[in-house]
Amino acid sequence: MKTSSSASSYSFRHFHPVVVTGIGVAGAAAVGAATFEQVLREGRSSVGYLTGMAYPNGKPLIGAEAEARELQVGFQRYAPGLSRTAGRLFKISGKSVQASSVAAAEAWQQAGLEERSLNHERIGIIVAGSNISPAVSYSAYKEYGEQPELLHPRYALSYMDTNQIGVLSEMFGICGEGMTVGGASASGNAAILRASQWIQLGLVDVCMVVGAMADLSPLELQGYLNIGAYGGSGFEGAPKQACRPFDRRHEGFILGQTSACLILECASSAADSGAEVLATVIGGAAALDGHSLSNPSEDGQVRTMKEALRRAGLPTSSIDYINAHGTSTPLGDLTELASIRRVFGEHLGRVRINSTKALTGHCLYAAGVVEAASVIIQMKGGFLHPQINLEEPVSREHYFATQKAEAADFTYALSNSYGFGGINTSIIFKKGLC
């Protein structure tokens, strides 16, 4: 029996490899992974305006809003392969659950799970995020305010994050373990890590990991504005320039509404099925700073990246590419660059860095999964997506992506996600099978 000691002995190499066999994307950035690849190659920003929200000066709030109509069209493509109740579940669900189901259906199909005769008790679901849909509560409050008895009884189910689990399990007939994993903006990475551990431990053979699209109400957005974390006020009339990670004119994060899904599975299960292995989750770690605030910590980030490398059994020199957390927040960007400098040292000059948030906005709970999809699509497609809006980098030492897509042959990529409350996560992906 393994026992804990002062130094963790947990290593991904002690277990069967965990591989990615399906990717789905649904939301403002793209509906469909193939479209998302085009978006990445072309450096197309999905940032525009958020309906009904304004900066303190009354100008419309910049953000990347998912279109309900596009999700509906996306869903129709997959509905025939889902449970008989799926159509109705989609119709009565909020936008976040709708985006989750479209992304999940695409990833499910790519992994060939429709045709495979898997025991559905060996499939799990992890939904990344907590407090996922405050917009659902906010709109229900209007009904309640009119007359409490008019509040729809379904609200007792739909306000809970775990409603996502219930709906997805019914649509796909999944009967293994299921839960939500919260880690603020690091939720996506935390969920991928937890799913990998389930597979390593043999609790499930396959796990659907869904990065849930945050459906925030005006309260949360106003909170971000009031705390000074929200950017874009200096980019009136030019929303696509507002999200600019690592650029001197970065102001704060810009909300993005995109959901993504990965199908993770044990390499042997993938091999048996003949499913194509898109990437391997080769290492990863999560660690706390021990504080409850929104400010990042260089020490925590360094510790997390180093532990992810140790668990992967890789030297720092093996990492070709970092998909940074890079939210376009001045302190966040500078802290992450300092952390990367400390971890990569002499190799700093050859590690390519970009942040997908420049294109998608900050997808909050979903960010880790959206960015994992971005990493895998780039590695598989042999390119590095442009870092739009990076005109005056805050660092000359780091080797950032440029304004145009570049051909690139990456084998190992690191993806960072950090959350309020001192939550640090890093994951390392390897192109193809281990």
């Binding site: 008989r84 109740t85 159509g87 109705r88 009565i92 009119e146 007359q147 008895e149 008019l150 729809h152 009884p153 379904r154 189910l157």
Partner: protein, 79 residues
């Protein structure tokens, strides 16, 4: 709007919500519960029907109604 039209709207909503429902079995005398609608399904059917009729009646007021016919009559009285 007469009672037959309200019944027709309810039947459409039921088919929407209960995809396996045998349409022949839907009658005024039948209860939604016996047709396989659980409590949330029943609230959904009534809510959706009210939406079409532009009615807003607290759902608790439907609790004592025994069959589809009684629901139709109650909706009709409140038009």
């Amino acid at each position: 709007m007469n009672k037959d039209q309200i019944f027709e709207i309810m039947r459409e909503k039921m088919l929407d919500i209960l995809p396996d429902l045998d349409v022949q079995r839907v009658s005024r005398e039948e209860s939604m519960k016996d047709l396989g609608a659980n409590s949330i399904d029943r609230f959904d059917i009534i809510s959706d029907t009210m939406g079409e009729l532009n009615l807003k009646i607290p759902l608790v007021k439907f609790g004592s109604l025994k069959n589809i016919g009684e629901v139709v009559d109650f909706l009709y009285e409140n038009l």
